[in-house]
């Protein structure tokens, strides 16, 4: 048997192996795809309900007689806020179901409505005093989160009683219950009640935190990159700095949180839960990313351009700032955006510095207590109320949308401004 025959004999087996190996490769790639698909699908399906909220129609008499406001009382903020709005809401509910007599049933009836309804009503009346008139006010108020879930998803949790289910049936028959777009989600901040909770606070918290991060990490990152790429002498110290940067890029993010807690909060006495400290911690964390990508961008500027400037008598510093940096800018910004995207999604270090508190106020600056989007996700995902799951998923979608925009911006910058030499 000569060699050709021997090879021929082995071929069938070998090609089978080849096919199998390719198949493993395909399966591996598909595994990644499937997980990504499942993850997104799961989150989207969970998030959809959060964008709709259930509302119940109330008819509220707002004439001075019912409100016990004699005609000589001026309608200003003080008098208007003194009105018993909770009573009005309850009364209007009772009128819908006049047959209900038992105290227990009444209580259940009131629970159909979100506890925030009275405050919405108050705000509405205060901003529009002319509503006080003989014509009763027709107003859609938010339903309680359990009723919301029950009506929207037709799934009844144990917290919806038989009686309440009956009420909802009747409301449906009278066409006094509906779903509408959940604007509260975008305009309110955190709340213990799912139907009153929104992400505005977290969104602004993220904004302030990222602002601090950007203002600190971009100049420092560019400065460090310029020094290391252009001016640093070849010595042990430079090597040490480089090793440090590479290692910092791989240090677990939670360690940066420990650093922030020990140094910024305990040593420098900075306040907890504020975007300033969050931004400081996140800048230290994103700095390696920005330095590494800025160095790559600076390195890619051809030496010929530098030599041309130097040849004209420009100093090294002038050459770098007039020629090298502007040309490297798109690459640097691309890296910076990716670093910011990382910072936007980061959670763990912020837990360490107390940005995990329950904060209702919307932060107006870098030293106001705040939380950020990913931490809000973490907080809500832990909440027992079912409706918070949908809110969490919806917040995730918002976060992912921001990340997608940032990454697309980075891709756009890279494609359109990055020169190739």
């Amino acid at each position: 048997m000569n060699n050709t025959d021997k090879v021929k004999q082995s071929l069938k087996k070998r090609y089978a192996k080849e096919k199998r190996f390719q198949l493993y490769g395909k399966i591996a790639v598909m595994t990644g795809f499937v997980f990504l698909g499942l993850l997104l699908l799961d989150i989207i399906t969970k998030a959809i309900p959060a964008f709709q909220s259930t509302e119940i129609l109330l008819e509220i008499p707002l004439d001075r007689h019912t409100l016990e406001l004699s005609s000589n009382i001026a309608l200003n903020e003080d008098t208007l806020s003194a009105i018993d709005y909770a009573g009005l809401v309850k009364k209007s509910m009772r009128q819908k179901f006049p047959d209900i007599k038992k105290r227990k049933d009444k209580k259940q009836l009131y629970k159909l409505i979100s506890s925030g309804a009275e405050f919405d009503l108050r705000d509405m009346v205060i901003s529009k005093p002319e509503l006080i008139s003989t014509t009763p006010l027709l107003i859609w108020v938010k339903a309680d989160d359990d009723i919301d879930t029950f009506f929207k998803l037709q799934t009844r949790t144990s917290r919806v009683t038989d009686k309440q289910a009956e009420f909802v049936e009747q409301l449906i028959l009278q066409d006094q219950i509906r779903t509408s777009f959940n604007t509260t989600f975008f305009t309110a901040s955190d709340s213990r009640e799912p139907e009153q909770a929104g992400i505005k606070g977290a969104l602004l918290g993220s904004f302030w935190t990222l602002l601090v991060t950007l203002f600190l990490s971009l100049p420092i990152g560019i400065g460090a990159a310029v020094y290391l790429e252009e001016f640093a002498p070849q010595n042990k110290l430079t090597d040490f700095i480089e090793i440090n940067i590479n290692n910092l890029a791989a240090v677990p993010s939670i360690v940066f949180g420990l650093l922030g807690l020990a140094v910024f909060i305990n040593f420098f006495g900075m306040p907890r839960s504020v975007p300033l400290v969050g931004g400081l911690v996140l800048s230290l964390m994103t700095l390696p990313t920005i330095i590494i990508s800025s160095r790559a961008a600076i390195k890619s500027v051809p030496p010929s351009i530098k030599e041309a400037a130097l040849g004209l008598g420009a100093s090294h510093m002038q050459t770098v700032f007039h020629h090298v940096l502007p040309l490297a800018m798109p690459g640097i910004l691309t890296g910076a955006i990716i670093g910011m995207a990382q910072a936007l999604g980061e959670t763990a270090p912020l837990l360490m510095i107390g940005m995990v508190a329950f904060i209702v106020d919307i932060p107006g600056g870098v030293v106001d207590s705040a939380t950020v989007l990913p931490v809000q996700i973490y907080l809500w995902s832990d909440s027992p109320e079912r409706a918070f799951t949908a809110l969490t998923a919806a917040t995730i979608l918002v976060l992912l949308a921001f990340l997608a925009v940032m990454n697309m911006l980075a891709i756009f910058l890279r494609k359109h401004f990055e020169r190739r030499w």
Binding site: V7, R14, Y15, K17, E18, F21, Q22, Y24, G25, A28, V29, G32, F35, L39, D42, I43, K46, P219, G221, G223, Y227, F231, A232, I241, I243, N244, N247, L248, A250, V251, P252, S253, I254, V255, G257, L258, L259, L261, V263, N266, F268, G269, L284, S315, M317, A341, G345, A348, L351, M352, G354, P374, V375, Y378, S381, A393, L399, L400, L403, N407
Partner: protein, 456 residues
Amino acid sequence: MNSSALFLLITGLSLIAYFTGRRQAFSHALQGKLKALPKHYGILTAMWSGIPALLLMLMWIMLQPSYLHQQILHSLPDSIANQSSDTLELYINNINLAIADGSDIDDPIIQKAINGYRQAENNSRYLLTGLVFLLSLSGIIFGLTKKLINIHARISIERAVKGFLVLCSGVAIVTTVGIVLSVLFEALRFFESISFFDFMFGTNWSPQTAIRDDQAGSSGSFGAIPLFVGTMLISAIAMMIAVPVGLLSAIYLSEYATARFRTIAKPTLELLAGIPTVVYGFFAALSVAPFIREAGESIGLSVASESALAAGIVMGVMIIPFVSSLSDDVISAVPQSMRDGSLGLGATKSETIKQVIIPAALPGIVGGVLLAASRAIGETMIVVMAAGLAAKLTANPLDAVTTVTVQIVTLLTGDQEFDSPKTLAAFALGLMLFATTLILNVIALHIVRKYREQYE
């Protein structure tokens, strides 16, 4: 003046400094004696005026709170200052609240402290404003002297800028030193009350009970072995998913896939790396864990609702793109001549990959896997959300285990005294985490660098 007004003041004075410096230079330029451009003299003067003042202001702002805190303590009468730390803390909190509110309080002692605080704050502000003004002004005046034009302004500016650049690169070192010092310092304090040996080799972890007075510092409660084992278990599951899937996808995409498929598939897989970990945590806790539990129970297995398997699988998925992009780098670094040599002998593609490319790329792949392992060990949110809290010493992936990072988060979230062994324990865990990942990273980066050099 408050800080933003002060900042405006400094900016304004610096602008004035710029123009005076430039004018000064212009007047000498006519005599042809200038070493640099007039605008350089302007910038130099502005820097003299602005930078010292700014630095002073920054330092002042940083040091002021602790100084004022001292002031409050001093202003309290001895009867209160000598009370136990808890009561004192309460007092100071009240005072701080009142200061933040701007309201007055009935308690005369507190009121006195508040007044003292406000007085000190006012004094400090006036002093700062005066000093800043003086510093800025002296910069301008210096710019007006004859000395200015004897200096080579551009070189001076560049020296200052270079100094700034050096400081920027120094931040990396400062950060590392900061991390090491902060975790080390607090960890050492922890080891004063709990022995290092008990911590490293103890098998019982229950920090909650250890803060009770009768148990404070009792050894055995801070035995970290269950945490280490839990961390290893979850990381191992993650690596078992991430390494084969990541490596095989890298191979498939770089060696088999068509160019078109690759341009779509690579960024799609990398999307997995761009998803925040908290999202994975949500997915693991609310979807994967219940699914595994139900699946396990349907075949008669008892599965914890926070099983290590769920957290591990999801963490593995998160690391897939990490492994695959690192493997991709090292595989593509293997020279084409290797492939040609093997194919030219009549090897099939998979034989070439398995017997030539992978062995050639092995050091790089090992480096990448170590980096991925370090990431798995340090990953926090997935395990915080999907793994358990109770420390259980087990190797069963269907059980709930807890990890080092979970415990750090649990120990440090919520309000507690900073000095309790409970909080300090978090830093001891942080030290272990930092040391482990650092060692892994250093080894991995070294291997990868050596590997790259081999084919360069």
